[in-house]
Symmetry: C2
Subunit: 343 residues, 2 copies
Amino acid sequence: MGAVAATQDPARRATAAEVARLAGVSPAVVSYVVNDGPRKVAPATAERVREAVRRLGYRPNRAARALRRGTTGIVGLVIPRVANPFMAELSEAVQAAAERRGLAVLAAGSGNDLGVERRLLQTLPRHGVDGLVVATVMGHHDTAPPVRPDLPTVYLNAPFAVPGCAAVGPDATQGARLVVDHLLGVHGHRSVALVTGESGARTAGARELGWQQAVTEHGARPGPVVRVAWDRPGGSAAVEALLGAGARPTAVFATSDAQALGLLHGLRAAGVRVPEEVAVGGFDGVEDGAYAAPPLTTAHQPVLAMAEAALDALEQPGGPGEGHALFGLDLVVRQSCGCTATT
Amino acid sequence: MGAVAATQDPARRATAAEVARLAGVSPAVVSYVVNDGPRKVAPATAERVREAVRRLGYRPNRAARALRRGTTGIVGLVIPRVANPFMAELSEAVQAAAERRGLAVLAAGSGNDLGVERRLLQTLPRHGVDGLVVATVMGHHDTAPPVRPDLPTVYLNAPFAVPGCAAVGPDATQGARLVVDHLLGVHGHRSVALVTGESGARTAGARELGWQQAVTEHGARPGPVVRVAWDRPGGSAAVEALLGAGARPTAVFATSDAQALGLLHGLRAAGVRVPEEVAVGGFDGVEDGAYAAPPLTTAHQPVLAMAEAALDALEQPGGPGEGHALFGLDLVVRQSCGCTATT
DNA sequence: CTGAAAGCGCTAACAC
DNA sequence: GTGTTAGCGCTTTCAG
């Protein structure tokens, strides 16, 4: 009766040894069947084992397996803020890519704080993760980020190469050019202002460069440049500087959708009509942009592909390399640029 | 030199046994010091151990500890979609509450799909979580959700009691009354329409009830009721029904901010001015509401407090009970109701 | 093709 | 107060 009781006790999970006993084999064979490998098992025996697994509802104990194998099947994800729409989409993309690989995601928000991000980089590994995906806090990391040399790490949303570990990011220059070119070429503005992140951080570099290139190419004037935080409040705060600075710009490129959304909000509050008085373009391509007033024209980052690339790099045997994979963006034309509604 | 090499080898992590040897004590003492307990250790010895820990950079191996103790310090979080702003805020709140307790969060998105949510409830535990926080997919769960009896589970964002496990949620009736009462009492509307979730799901019950109560109390007429998805597209889709149905309503209460945001977008696209022609109220209190056009008047859920309560319930010795903890909401007055700008 | 057995690193009885 | 030691459940050599 002991065996039966054990079988039916819902609180206690069956062990490989119990499965082995029920199937009349050794624990080793159970392991071979469950993992199919590393040794071959006779079909008949394997079937018997599988039947026992089913009967006992056996699931290998993750902790024991992790202890033995030294891997957990969990990747850590460090992300600034999920409340940032772009980060939320990036986070979902990483989740999806991880699930496709049978990995689980241990997520930790840094609250947009570089200090917290640094701390997370140290503490997350303690929870036993096999690798780390770090969605960088925008506007920081002018100095090399602190990477744990013993833990495969890949930087996501990184517009710059990270020495010592793999990086995946948008081809920010191309993306920025896409929208500034649209503002200039299609809508015929003579100058485009720039709303971007604080400081001359390298992060801003590529997006700013794209803006500059497009402006130069069209023989247009660069509008005023205003540096604010990489979020909606930042975008709102930019309005004052934009409107106060002598000649009011007729077009503005914001280097993130969050900033663009804040900007639209601020302009509306100031009674400035978009796109009639000022046209606005963003960068990221978040779903929220479609619900903005007016709907935001922006460059869309291929988040799914980037997430896949990040996990691919992580799983690379021998650890992720040092490369910097760049992904092209698509132009999403809505109405903040001056185009008319399509729907 | 062997010892020195081992000390400096960055690839290999030190074990408790090594720390013990360096400190000249037994592994047991190392454990006692690291966990302070369950036995007392002489101050001098403890200091020697701590020094050795520091020198070797020792971190207890999570997997071994989990195997031995039977707990991982990881809680699973099942959440519909982080791209939903409210869910993102809820997710951050759970993160924060977990961190305060030294727990890590294994997050998994259900993509708003009840089938996926069910599957997650089965698979997440395999990754060795100590407990499960489930942010329910809105508009489902009319039947008892599938709970693993062996795993402490608490439902979050649950407006109904869940048989067999603890539930934490907003006092939806109170919250809904708050905003409908404002629409009716302050702005003097004679009727308020309702935009809510599909089907007569119990989920909708409480919010709908609050709307009804407020309408009745004011001797007003209930406006048309339209049932759509619990997200922005749903809110947009509601516009047609709202405008088509005979007398156009002068005020609308949407039972989630996502729907309200979609609604504002749809009304704008249809050329209806808010709040002049139609006033709008929401429910959730997400940050996005502040950036909507016009900024959304809504009831704010105390997400932090709810997340704390959920984790408290999870940690309750003997497992979370069966209670249903309700949290009151605050009215956030912005401009979609007809109030004038305060900022 | 299968069995026996040695640990992975840690914790907590149980001795002293 | 501290040392010894027996496992937690699994994987994987090594024998057969």
